[in-house]
Amino acid sequence: MTSFMSRRDLFLFAGFTGVVLLLPILAAPFGAAYPDLLQRFMIFGIFATGFNILFGLTGYLSFGHAAFFGIGSYAAMWSFKLLSLNAVPALLFALIVSGVFALAIGYVSLRRSGIYFSILTLAFAQMCYNLAYSVLTPITNGETGLRMALDDPRYLDRLFAEPAAGMPVPSLFGMSLGGWNGFYFSAFFLIASFLLAMRIFNSPFGLALKGIKSNQTRMNYTGFNTRPYTLTAFVISGMLAGLAGALLVVTDPLAGAERMRWTASGEVVLMTILGGVGTLVGPVIGAWIIKYFENIFSSFNANVLNNFYSFLPDGVREVAVTISSKFVGEGWHLSLGLVFVLIVVFLPGGLMEGFRRIAAWLGRMGNGSKRASQVGVQPAE
């Protein structure tokens, strides 16, 4: 095992796996321990991990990753409709289709770098979105969104058995994927993606990607042809986005075009930056925090706020409620945007950098005269 990964990585991986698997218990004090939300944690964790493989390692900022997410959703849905209600072929199909798209889009977009790359990916994603809304309606069902129907062909299923009565729901070899089963199913893929990301970060391939981020010209001069490396990273991250999209269809059997909008692409950027770009656990944490607060804040309304401020005198309370109600509920994106701006300005390394600074500070406090660099706690990376 030691040859497979270093001792430190082993601890990190074991810790991450433990946290993910125990999340139903750990999240309970925060009121987040229900399968639907936790499953979203897993799915967007995968999405952000994949995005981080591209942006965190190579520095290429893609503003179109939601396209692969949406394509994965549609592909999985078509697999449910045409082949089988089993989730495995759906995920495979989604991986293949999003991989093909990522290969094509990446091949073209990666010819340019910097802001042009961002604009190119954005342009491709907007094309996918606009087409999904208009001309491709036979495939995507346009604005209504694609969902399963009773009379879908499902050729593979029908080979073996007559279709059961009732609405079709995705399953895993006959096992239902609702509730906690669905959570552990997605958790498995998050852990697998995390392992993949960890292996990439520590591999020569990952080192080459980091080299591209710090100085692509120099990499070219040392004899590296960087294009295949960036393209591989792009395809991997696109496939993980497709996987996340497919898993979302397993939870919530509706694939709609708005998942491909560029605001959705922006969301995964937010997650990655918030958590800490280029770190292993950062993006996952960012995804969890955003999904958690999206869920909690959206449910806040005037009543909740009134209770919260009940210690204040009446006049002051009304003012406080009016002001804070702009930041929660419908307006929670405002808080998100503000936090995001603050993070980019003051903590470009995201929350992980914040943890690192706090740890270093604690180290200095604890060790008086010793130099911080000697005792600075190495963050989980």
Binding site: G59, L61, F63, V108, R111, R112, S113, G114, I115, Y116, S118, I119, L120, L122, A123, F124, Q126, M127, N130, L131, Y133, S134, V135, L136, W262, T263, G266, V269, L270, I273, K326, E330, G331, H333, L334, L336, G337, L338, F340, V341, V344, V345, P348
Partner: protein, 343 residues
């Protein structure tokens, strides 16, 4: 056939004007400060909401119940009296009628203030940071501005009526000596186009023929040398940011009768105007204007039924398709200078 083509050409002009104005501001910001401003669409939106706010102020009214007048059901009538009309009489009615163009008076100082505050308050900290971080912080700012607008004005679009004299269509065909009634074009779009031309001309004249503009152009070419000559180039660039904001805001004000503004307006226009800037060439002002009109007109042609019959869906993607092709075959855009952001 000529009429059809000419009409589509005209139809593309108003959208093209909006694209050109936003892209012009974006290019000014990029050319002077070197900042990729993802919040520029938000400035366009703030301008549009200046028009909404201005009209709201003009149409404030007093409501009182008049017991002497009775409705047919015998209830006392509510009498509403707009304050502006109470104070100014008929002149007040004219003010309300022309609220959209008059909002420019409100929009110019507001946009200057917003622009300078934005540059001094946030963007100046990002000159030396990588472009990716500039994109991120201005993207976050765009979200915040959109949400503030949503909190203030609600999530629904606010339709703005155009002045009654400028409703209806202009018979451009007849003006040009062709058969009457063949080529007609909504009057307000014509106004918008002429307005855009005037603004663009003013910006270019300002840069070309004033000392201030000359210094700014010199600073765009070589900021360091201009600074060494003892000129406070930073302050001038801040003012240019304010001017870019004013251009975007005025474009937003005049566009409100064509498209009711809502809080998503900024994001909708931002993506396209970035594509416009890239097509025109980063940092090239004439390029941005030309590409704006070009893409507006192309979009208009792509939405012809004859074209859509051959290439279904082309109207949805034409702009992005053009951008992809341009970026791949001519990296510096149509009129970009060699070596500027060509990587």
């Amino acid at each position: 056939m000529f009429e059809v083509i000419f009409l589509q050409f005209l139809n593309g002009l108003d959208k093209g004007s909006a694209y050109a104005l936003i892209a012009l501001g974006l290019t000014i910001v990029f050319g002077t400060l070197g900042v990729v401003n993802f919040a520029h669409g938000a400035l366009f939106m703030i301008g549009a909401f200046c028009a909404v706010a201005f009209r709201y102020l003009l149409t404030l009214e007093t409501v009182h119940v008049d017991p002497t007048k009775l409705s047919p059901w015998g209830q006392p009538l509510e009498v509403r009296e707009p304050l502006v009309q109470a104070w100014f009489g008929d002149f007040g009615a004219i003010l309300v009628n022309y609220s959209v163009p008059l909002s420019l008076l409100l929009a110019v100082p507001v946009m200057l203030l917003v622009g300078v505050a934005m540059e001094r308050g946030l963007i100046k900290f990002f000159y030396k940071r990588p472009h990716a971080e500039q994109i991120l912080v201005t993207f976050g700012l765009a979200i915040v501005i959109g949400e503030v607008i949503k909190a203030l004005f609600g999530p629904n679009p606010h339709p703005q009526p155009m002045p009654t004299d400028l409703r209806g269509a202009a018979d451009i065909g007849a003006w040009l000596g062709m058969q009457a009634g063949v080529i007609t074009y909504p009057l307000w779009r014509l106004v918008y186009f002429l307005f855009a031309i005037a603004i663009i001309g003013a910006v270019f004249a300002f840069l070309q023929f004033t000392t201030f503009g000359m210094v700014v152009r010199a600073g765009m070419a070589d900021r360091e040398t201009v600074g060494l000559l003892g000129i406070n180039i930073d302050r001038r660039f801040t003012i240019m940011f304010g001017i870019a904001a004013i251009v975007a805001g005025m474009a937003g004000v005049m566009y409100t009768p064509l498209l009711p503004p809502s809080y998503t307006l900024g994001m909708e226009f931002l993506v396209i105007s970035f594509v416009v800037v890239v097509v025109g060439g980063m940092g090239s002002l004439p390029g941005a204007v030309a590409a704006g009109f070009l893409l507006g007109i192309l979009q208009s042609f792509a939405s012809m039924t004859q074209v859509k019959a051959i290439l279904p869906g082309i109207d949805q993607i034409i702009i992005y398709l053009v951008a992809v092709v341009i970026l791949l075959v001519r990296p510096r855009g149509l009129m970009g200078r060699r070596g500027v952001m060509e990587a």
